[in-house]
Amino acid sequence: MTRTTTRIIAALAAIGLGAGRAAAQSTEAINPTARSVTEGQLLDALKFGDTIRGRITIPNQSAADLEKPTNKVWMWLNLEVIDWVIIAAVLVTLAVVVIFYLRIGRLEIDKGRSGRTITRFNIFERVMHWTMASSFVVLALSGLNVAIGRYVVQPWLGEAAFGTATHWGKLAHNYLAWPFMLCVVLTFLVWVRHNMPSRLDIAWFKAGGGLLKNGAHPPATKFNAGQKVVFWAVVLGGSAVAVTGLALMFPYLLGSPLQWQAAQVVHALAAAGLIAMTIGHIYIATAGSEGALEAMTTGEVDVNWAEQHHSLWLKEEMAKGTTPRTPPTGATPAE
């Protein structure tokens, strides 16, 4: 036996003895769970929004989240808050509009129609508006259906038909989101210069927008303060639903589970706001005031209407040398 071999054997023996001693020492104290995790401790230590997470050997790394008890908060938010906010947004706004119509009624053109018209929105603006409007109506209805359809529609249709209808609704929602998003961007680009806040807006609100106080006609440029609110709601609310909607539409490209949950909450609340605002907007533009709707249909508004609602814009247009048009003889103005 060489010296080296002897030394190695001696060393091994020493290690073996040492290990044996160490094991013997800790035998009395061995408790296999002393350092092991227990679910109770992990749950107690869990902070809001945290997950009990481990390691996993499959490619889907999000499956490494073992337990996410706070997901129930998202459930609670949807069932106890968002559903009610959405229902309130629709019903309260409808009620306000009806009360408004009954109490105040239609806002007439004070001086009556002059018969002369001026171009308010060109064909591009009108196509943009109606593309956005029509896509929004489908988006709103299919969205409302996902949120509260199971309380409102499903009892009538039954599970199978409602499931099919909602599936088609989801497809419509996913595809019509694109023209809507395009129109939000275009609306911003085309109209932002007319929608910068100004001092006039304060005066306009103080005068009740010419709606609450009889005979008051606060001056306004192309868009009055109320319309500016609509504009910014569409731009900001529209951007919010667009960004959150994209995360919900492409879950595997964008976001994490927590972000999808947040996106869904923001999407639903922003959409509820947009729906409420749109109901008011539709009312004011149709039954609420005489002569307003044609701005978006033919694009031509009566000069007297323009003077009443957008005096400064009319002045500006006249200063530019725009001549109001007179409709061909024989045509009688509506009403």
């Binding site: 408790n31 296999p32 769970t33 002393a34 350092r35 092991s36 995790v37 227990t38 679910e39 109770g40 992990l42 749950l43 009990i52 997470r53 481990g54 390691r55 996993i56 050997t57 499959i58 490619p59 889907n60 999000s62 499956a63 490494a64 989240d65 073992l66 337990e67 996410k68 008890p69 997901n71 129930k72 998202w74 459930m75 949807n78 069932l79 259906n145 996902v146 949120a147 359809g149 199971r150 499903q154 599970e159 199978a160 409602f162 499931g163 909602t166 599936h167 989801k170 996913n174 919900l248 539409m249 492409f250 879950p251 595997y252 490209l253 589970p257 999808w260 949950q261 869904q264």
Partner: protein, 200 residues
């Protein structure tokens, strides 16, 4: 009727992933979908524990409560199932589920969600029991054959237990008392509102 539950005794789980494989094979689960998975907590550290997790078939299941089309239902055995014909693949059940059970096949290159798939407790779906349609949509229906879920049935260490909740809880409690420790019935507090006492 029994109230079926899963219980993973993590102190016995050796992370062999046989439950995962058995599930995939039994139900011909599509690529990318795992109805069951094994997660290792504190991996590589002293006292690491592995937990086999799938749908826990919760009491008052969050998935069922948030589903916009009400496609979930609970069987007489307390198993939470869903109807794939009604499902629209919105993802809400995944957002609500505390266990990450709902999975969605990717139906396009952009990764939008297909119809949800999850553990059926080996009890198929709303189609006729043991029919071809049921197998194609939901996988095998072992409960209809009088058998328990395969993942638990073939678990080599009997870590994963399936069966009536009261019975498997009693088995687990006996184990905890006998060996003197237990890391807990993972998920029970979240799924059923009450944990099993492991202070033994």
């Amino acid at each position: 009727m029994a109230r079926m539950k899963f219980l993973c005794d993590a102190d016995r789980c050796i992370e062999c992933n046989a439950c995962v494989t058995a599930c995939k094979n039994e139900h011909e689960v599509p690529w990318g979908i795992n109805r069951r998975r094994v997660v290792t907590i504190n991996d590589g550290l002293p006292g690491e524990r592995s937990v086999s997790m799938a749908c826990m078939h919760c009491t008052d299941a969050p998935c069922a409560q948030v589903c916009p089309v009400n496609c979930f239902y609970t069987t007489n055995d307390g198993v939470v199932l869903h109807n794939k014909d009604t499902c629209i693949g919105c993802g809400y059940c995944f957002y609500a589920c505390p266990f990450g059970a709902p999975q969605y096949p990717k139906v396009s290159n952009f990764g939008s969600r297909g119809k949800m798939d999850k553990c059926t407790y080996c009890s198929g779906g709303p189609e006729e029991d043991l029919s071809v349609e049921e197998y194609e949509k939901y996988g095998a229906n072992r409960l209809a054959e009088g058998k328990l879920p395969l993942c638990a049935e073939m678990c080599s260490t009997k870590s994963l237990l399936a069966g009536d909740g009261d019975i498997i809880a009693e088995i687990y409690r006996e184990r905890v008392v006998t060996r003197g420790y237990g890391s807990g019935a993972w998920g029970w507090k979240t799924a059923y509102g009450a944990a099993i006492d492991v202070s033994a």
